[in-house]
Symmetry: C2
Subunit: 134 residues, 2 copies
């Protein structure tokens, strides 16, 4: 067992699960990532135009679920959650590839983020092949 | 604060951090993902040949670090960790894109995994555009 501590929160017009689109490219809204002051130094190289991977903790997900029926596919068999992007899974970590639109101190505006308002942010990584890697 | 519970462990010939290559494509070894019996149903659609994202908890990382000097770049300035893939970061979640080589019940063999032996596995997701999405 490990403890994960949010480094910020999502600010989004998506207020509840029914409002979320199926995938970012189906039209998720722009959102702000509001980071905690204590992680300021970690953000110092984030710039508008970059693509980032935002990892969230999907705090409204159900953790007891191991199989799901993909949405809109009522006649499909149940699928193991590790072969889906369902938020419902034992450790509900969300993974979102986004483009940075604007940076304002501890607030970072990103495009097309499929995450509900208030969702805790737990990590941010560069897309590989871009920015610094190690 | 949230609690993250491992769903399995990495079995790898990489025994300590100095042995890890910088990126998977620089020649990380094949490894086995050994899952816990309680998540068996979640794995039922994992097949050889698929590409997966494996999320790990980098339990030997330092969580107090916000800036790092990219390895092998001694003259470069310190970089904010959220613009690097350094394991040292506030929530040390590792993200590894791998190909499934073999599935043997709760054990899944994958290629080119840059993760130390014993590293906890916390989630597995399909690469987007492949397998089922939702």
């Amino acid at each position: 067992m490990y403890e994960i501590t949010p480094i910020g929160r999502v600010e989004s017009p998506l207020l509840e699960r029914g409002m979320a689109p199926r995938q970012g490219d189906e039209g998720a809204p722009d959102a702000w990532l509001a980071f905690e002051p204590r992680v300021r130094d970690g953000l110092q190289d984030v710039r508008a135009g970059q693509e980032l991977l935002v990892l969230t903790w999907l705090d409204r997900a159900t953790r007891e679920v191991l199989t799901v029926r993909p949405r809109g596919e009522g006649d499909r068999p149940l699928t193991g959650v590790f072969s889906t992007r369902s938020p419902d899974r034992p450790n509900p970590i969300g993974l979102h590839r986004v483009r940075v639109l604007e940076v304002d101190g501890l607030r970072v505006k990103v495009g097309d983020l499929e995450a509900l308002d208030g969702t805790p942010i737990v990590d941010v990584k560069p897309v590989l092949g871009q920015v610094n890697e190690r």
